[in-house]
Symmetry: C2
Subunit: 325 residues, 2 copies
């Protein structure tokens, strides 16, 4: 391969694991590497691990790291996008991690950072379920519920960076207390964590014998795959998940009434494990609750890229940023 050929690197910096993927000029995956994040060991250690993971991914792709044309990193926020700094990642105990500077010094190529949900939704827009749509909304229920919007090919941003906090749209006035301090946020009824908590209570009450046998009543054991199995076996768990998906649909209806998107993409492990249920219930609720003129040709679909969405989106953002230079 000639040294004038270009490669892009996409990076997904998650709370528990990190992944680096190398793409060729046509965005075909040619190499990749994963490792644990171990955020508790401190930012310096994590930066070293990021560098090593990138080098290993380049090795896996049989290219030299210095042939990378640009690096894009999807990160937990809040971020300083211009300076390429993670301002804070409370779950990981980081403050002011200078990602852009460190990686540009190490690899000598432009590096951009993006909010991980923004990057994932951008990935689906460029290569997955939202291709060529004028307005794409991505929603990813997990521990919380992340959201993003790609409007006319660009990430819709708030004043300070990311926005689209659909997890904190109020769906139950006076409802359960949320981590953000408010009440009745979508996250309190439709995140994987909220579903797991309700499911664990049902298991504890003896109403969900299959779930109890599969995972007990510890929330940390009640993951998406377990919930999907329990949905098929315990009617009460099916009701709990369906109810959550309806709440999700209600919040989506509000987003649709405001933004009138072309496509709403539902992603993340929970949706992946039960995509028919989530997409189906969300669809029904949105058709019922949003304005007809906005729902007529609205698509609600499952994400297509799975774990690759963030690395693909981050790499594309980096490549296009470079193209603009």
């Amino acid at each position: 391969m000639g040294s004038d050929e270009r490669y892009w690197l996409g990076f997904d910096l998650g709370g528990t694991k990190m992944m680096a993927t190398v793409f060729d000029a046509g965005f075909k995956i040619i190499g990749s590497q994963r490792t644990k994040t171990k955020g508790c060991e401190g930012a310096k250690d994590v930066l070293d691990r990021i560098i090593k993971t990138i080098k290993d991914a380049a090795d896996d792709a049989h290219i030299k790291a210095q042939h990378l044309g640009a690096i894009g990193i999807g990160c937990p926020g809040p971020l300083d996008l211009d300076r390429g700094i993670i301002l804070e990642a409370p779950n990981l105990g980081w403050k002011n991690v200078t990602l852009k500077d460190t990686l540009e010094k190490e690899f000598g190529c432009p590096t951009v950072i993006a909010n991980d949900v923004d990057a994932g939704t951008y990935g689906e827009y460029r290569f997955g379920a939202g291709q060529k749509a004028r307005c794409v909304v991505g929603i990813f229920p997990g521990t919380g519920i992340g959201g993003a919007c790609i409007y006319e090919g660009r990430i819709f941003r708030g004043r300070t960076g990311s926005c689209m906090e659909i997890g904190h749209v109020c769906v139950q006035p006076g409802g359960r207390v949320c981590g953000c301090g408010q009440r009745g946020c979508l996250e309190t009824v439709a995140s994987r964590l909220a579903i797991s908590a309700e499911a664990a209570a049902a298991a504890y009450r003896g109403e969900a014998p299959h779930l109890l046998e599969l995972a007990g009543t510890d929330l940390s054991s009640i993951k998406s795959g377990v919930l999907a199995k329990a949905v098929a076996a315990d009617p009460v768990i099916e009701r709990i998940v369906r109810n959550a998906a309806q709440h999700l649909g209600g919040a989506i209806a509000n987003v649709v009434n405001l933004l009138a998107p072309d496509v709403v993409i539902l992603g993340g492990g929970l949706v992946e494990a039960m995509s028919d249920l989530f997409v189906g219930e969300a669809r029904k609720t949105v058709d019922c609750r949003a304005m007809k003129s906005f729902t007529k040709s609205l698509k609600i679909v499952a994400a297509q890229l799975g774990d690759n969405a963030t690395v693909m989106g981050a790499a594309a953002l980096a490549a296009e940023g470079k193209a603009k230079e």
Copy 2:
């Protein structure tokens, strides 16, 4: 004045009245004309009246109509923006009104149409309370509640034209039935119509003697000015209006969590008549319910341009469209 000087015309086509305003190249008002819309007399008649009103406004500005550089019209929707057609205005009984073609033929200058709330918010962005902001949300409670968003200098649009239907964001799940067929929409609790209905009921029950004396119990008599007077005299009316403003604040909190705007502008006759109350209550509720990182430097302000917002915004859109040619 030389015939090479440029003038812009902004037009506000409302359900009850229409207004044409002529601006000089620097967007100073130099002439204007108002008349009744009389939509019931049919689209042809209204088109003739629009043409006459534009000519009268040009006369008032002491210019010839053929010196108009461009015409911008704020209209009730839904619209076909590209073809410049009002597809339907149910309240006025119109269908497929070919505004753009008719006016371009008559005046020989480019004509653009825009949703009236979009045009009004764009006016506030260019000349009023939202100048230079990166993201402006405009909210106008009236019979319904109109909303619009100007993002990085451009109107945020849905697939089919307008969007930002904040009046149909759900704020009371299972609440009152809305004109759109849903329940608990913001319009059912915070529009001028909803407030007037609640106020009329209070007057009927004998709890609002001042309102009863001022306006009786007929909704069509309980307008913004009357409500403002009653708020000062009847404590129950004050509670009703304050409660509506809090619901408005709750819906704004959801919009803030999604779009993280720099400025939220509240306008329309109702807000104008009681701007301290509306802006104050909305502010308190938003500070309480939206994410801190988004509310910190968020401004919530009253509109500055009053009835001129739509004509100014429409004229600016037309002028800038022309500039792009």
